[in-house]
């Protein structure tokens, strides 16, 4: 039986994070949980890989962070989408749909 690949394509994690933060500001754990719930076992997302991605995205200005108090009364770093991030999300989503349509078309016809 062929091994099912569940690893993420380059750049996909950023798209997932942007989409997750589009709803509400969240801490890293919340983002990870939301992504796990959404992708179920279809994709393998290692929790720790979120953090370098979050830091890089903050560096690029797509998200901003501030320390706050979490639901369990602990200090936590909350991330929110910036205007540039929202714009990026729209662009990335359009790009993703275009690429995925193109690949699907090729797979169906080839």
């Amino acid at each position: 039986m062929a091994k099912v690949r569940t690893d993420l394509m380059q750049g996909t994690l950023e798209l997932l994070i942007l989409k997750t933060l589009a709803r509400d500001p969240m801490h890293g754990y919340g983002i990870a949980q939301r992504i796990h719930q959404a992708v179920d076992d279809l994709l393998k997302v290692e929790d720790g890989s979120l953090y370098p991605a979050l830091y890089r995205m903050e560096e690029r200005g797509w998200i901003a962070s501030e320390w706050g108090i979490s639901e369990n009364n602990r200090r936590a770093k909350f991330y929110r989408l910036t205007k540039a991030g929202r714009k990026r999300l729209d662009g990335e989503r359009a790009n993703w749909e275009r690429v995925s349509q193109a690949i699907t078309r090729i797979l169906e016809t080839a």
Partner: protein, 163 residues
């Protein structure tokens, strides 16, 4: 000079490290609690949380590196030294007197050198400006998962990495 040293103190890499550690610790603790709620024994939950998290040491170092590079003071200083360099170039190009061209040269040199020093300070702090503090880092991924989770002193993985 006091202002500059104050700014440089704010770039202390320990500050970036402690914030990253606090964030990662928060994640590991919540994940452990979640697994415990699913009736997993605490020891196993801690080990599973750590395993699910991935390469803690590598992730931590990567986050600290990005965090330091992204510090607002670093951005401001980069901008300022770039500005000094541009002023130097303008003075050099448009000055008609010899001594002013020297001033331009000095400004350009200060701009470039300062950015280089800032780069050393931010990217390789322990090598050039501070005593190495990574000697006690536990190579978590070299250890069996059960050992790597929590040690005898009930210290969490991140606490062990910090200490």
């Amino acid at each position: 000079m006091n202002v500059l040293s104050g700014l440089l103190r704010r770039l202390d890499h320990r500050r970036a490290q402690s914030e990253v550690d606090e964030e990662l610790q928060f994640h590991l603790d919540l994940l452990t609690e979640e697994l415990c709620r699913q009736d997993m024994p605490r020891d196993e939950a801690q080990a599973t949380a750590l395993k699910r998290f991935g390469n803690l040491e590598q992730i931590r170092n990567e986050c600290v590196r990005i965090s330091r590079r992204n510090h607002p003071v670093v951005s401001a200083l980069k901008w300022f030294f770039g500005f000094v360099f541009v002023i130097g170039v303008l003075v050099r190009v448009f000055s008609l007197e010899f001594h002013l061209t020297r001033v331009g040269d000095i400004l350009m040199a200060v701009g470039v050198l300062s950015r280089f020093l800032l780069y050393l300070r931010v990217m390789t702090p322990s090598r050039y400006f501070s005593q190495p503090d990574d000697s006690s880092l536990i190579k978590l991924n070299d250890l069996p998962t059960s050992i790597a989770a929590y040690d005898q002193g009930k210290r969490t993985p991140v606490e062990r990495v910090i200490s």
